[in-house]
């Protein structure tokens, strides 16, 4: 079961600007408790439950109903061994794994794909943000300098990102510095290359953007594979194997016990 935080998909996690305080004295325990309750019950966009409420529903009613409806002890045990790990891994384990993968991808590939390069737990940037970071809008007041500095501030490695535009650019950037500040100084000295790169980033289909989009999807692919492998295949197979194993062991123990009784008789 894939459960991801519907809030994080839509927004970037920045420090709040001029938000109105919801409760006076939010620093107090009662205020924090009230705030927790409001967040817990607050429906997300399109009416989805909050993540914590979803978990509570899954554990109480989903798991509960399956246990109550179990026809025998084998089914009851299988419900626990199949569904309990699923309800823990799907909403918590897999998303956390995806964030670790995203963090490693950003570090190794040098492409900015995280909301906050210093806090990978805040998750991936959304599609709209990636479009801003990797396609140069000439309206941008700070110009290509601001465009480059933004990528740098988001944890991107400019040499790696700009090299992805094509082999020609990559060859020309081969001896440039890996340090972003030095890189920008070196690039400013090569006007032709600078202009080429700037023009290439104006293209909304540029290869650096394509690569960034792909890298942004890789954590989700990894999460999908973990869900498929662990929750979709391993856990059910293990469940079936466990039932057979327990019952065979039990039958063998009964057989051995019966044989012993027959022998003594």
């Amino acid at each position: 079961m894939k459960i991801s935080n519907s809030v994080s998909n839509a927004t970037a996690s920045f420090k709040p600007k001029n938000s109105s305080p919801s409760f006076a004295g939010a620093g107090s325990a009662i205020g924090k408790g009230k705030e927790f309750a409001i967040e817990f019950f607050e429906p997300q966009r399109a009416g989805n439950m909050s993540r914590n409420m979803f978990l509570l529903t899954a554990f109480t009613f989903l798991l509960g109903s399956r246990l109550i409806a179990s026809r025998d002890n084998n089914e009851r045990r299988e419900t626990l061994t199949r569904d309990l790990p699923t309800f823990i891994l799907a909403p918590k384990g897999v998303p956390f794994f995806e964030k670790i993968v995203a963090n490693q991808l950003q570090k190794r590939n040098g492409f900015a794909i995280l909301q906050n390069p210093n806090k990978y737990k805040e998750g991936l940037a959304d599609g709209g943000q990636l479009a801003d970071w990797y396609t140069f809008n000439p309206q941008l007041e700070s110009g290509f300098k601001g465009f480059s500095e933004r990528l740098s501030n988001q944890g991107g490695n400019l040499k790696k990102i700009y090299s992805a535009l094509g082999d020609d650019v990559k060859n020309k950037l081969k001896n440039f510095s890996d340090d972003n500040k030095t890189f920008m100084q070196e690039l400013s000295k090569d006007k032709e290359l600078h202009k080429t790169i700037e023009n290439e980033f104006k293209n909304t289909g540029n290869k650096a953007y394509e690569q960034a989009k792909y890298l942004r999807h890789v954590p989700k692919i990894a999460g999908f594979m973990v869900t498929l492998g662990l929750i979709g295949i391993f856990i059910p197979q293990f469940n079936i194997h466990l039932t057979r194993s327990i019952n065979k062991d039990d039958a063998r123990a009964q057989r051995a016990s019966k044989a012993k009784i027959d022998k003594n008789a």
């Binding site: 894939k2 009416g47 025998d72 999807h217 999908f224 019952n247």
Partner: protein
């Protein structure tokens, strides 16, 4: 986020006229082309899934990674022992996984849609409701003419103008007044298109001289992150047609400006409290409705008295009785 400048970069950029742009000569190996096409294919598919929204993405991913494999495993349960597919196990897996997951989304979505017909503002996300309330509070505080409070359109325009100031007040913009007027017009024109509003917000963010935006679709930062143009455009309409409309129709008495403002403030707090309570009520109703459905659901797909687990257990025991069963598979 503050963008620091690099002087020598500035100097380098301003020198020389660039007249020619050399062609990018991309020489790719065949293997690179194939891998590049595969990556593009993967990106296209996942972009498509992304665009389906949270529920759409859940449906697609959950179906492929969890529901389908479990149904296949169910169908093949003990197949090597029985010689045929296990339809009971497969059907029970299908009934369990296909219905329970989506119901946890569809039922709450249905409830909030119902509630929206009674009270459109109940559908507004909490952080957006908070910002619109704050803008409304500012309008009340600063109004010098009580007749504005009785005119829904004027009130709505004032709220959107205040929202602009709260969102972009510290932006350094050329033609700020014109941009503000356009912002207000687009939010209040019933025939305005969401794409035009998004385009304007992108323009405002990109033209800001005081900082380079991280997200050109962002209107204002909120407690949980930020509010984007798209949801704000939709929710402003709900707010205007519900809260502002009710507010404008209410009689605040014929006292002084200050007493009318006090009465108005009290009424506004009341409406907003009702909206918040309605949302929480809808959420609790969702929890109970989903719970009731899930408790009844097993009766739909559990048709046999003997569970597949018990049937498999019996087969395992029979193998041992028949003298085999030394392996635990």
């Amino acid at each position: 986020m503050k963008v620091t400048s690099s002087k020598s970069y500035d100097v380098g950029c301003r020198k020389n006229n660039l007249t020619q742009q050399p062609n990018l000569n991309v020489r790719a190996e065949r293997g690179d082309v194939a891998f590049g096409s595969a990556k593009q294919g993967v990106t296209k598919v996942l972009d498509f899934v992304d665009k389906k929204g949270f529920f759409g993405e859940f449906l697609i991913v959950d179906t492929l990674s969890l529901i389908v494999p479990r149904i296949v495993i169910g169908l093949n349960r003990d197949k090597e022992k029985t010689g045929h597919l296990n339809y009971q196990a497969g059907l029970e897996e299908a009934g369990r996984e296909v219905i329970s997951g989506p119901s946890m989304f569809l039922i709450p979505m249905g409830i909030i849609e119902l509630v929206k017909h009674l009270s459109p503002a109940a559908k507004i996300q909490r952080d957006i409701l908070s910002e619109l309330s704050a803008s409304m509070d500012d309008v009340l505080k600063n109004t010098k003419d009580v007749s504005v409070l009785k005119d829904k359109d004027k009130l709505s325009r004032n709220i959107s103008g205040t929202l602009f100031d709260r969102a972009f007040g510290d932006y350094e913009l050329k033609n700020k007044k014109a941009l503000k007027n356009k912002f207000v017009d687009l939010l209040n024109d019933p025939s305005a298109k969401i794409a035009d509003f998004e385009k304007l917000v992108v323009e405002i963010n990109n033209k800001n001289k005081s900082k380079t935006t991280l997200d050109s679709h962002m209107v204002i930062k909120s407690k949980n992150g930020s509010i984007s143009a798209n949801p704000l455009f939709k929710d402003f309409k709900h707010y205007s047609n519900d809260v502002v409309d009710k507010f404008a129709k209410h009689d605040f008495g014929k006292g002084t400006l200050e007493s009318s403002k006090e009465a108005a403030k009290g009424f506004l707090e009341h409406i907003q409290k009702v909206r918040r309570t309605t949302r929480i009520g809808a959420s609790v109703a969702s929890y109970l409705a989903v719970g009731a459905f899930l408790l009844e659901l097993p009766k739909l797909y559990l048709r046999s008295k003997i569970s597949p687990a018990m049937a498999s257990a019996k087969r395992a025991r029979q193998e041992v009785s028949d003298g085999g069963g030394y392996e635990n598979i």
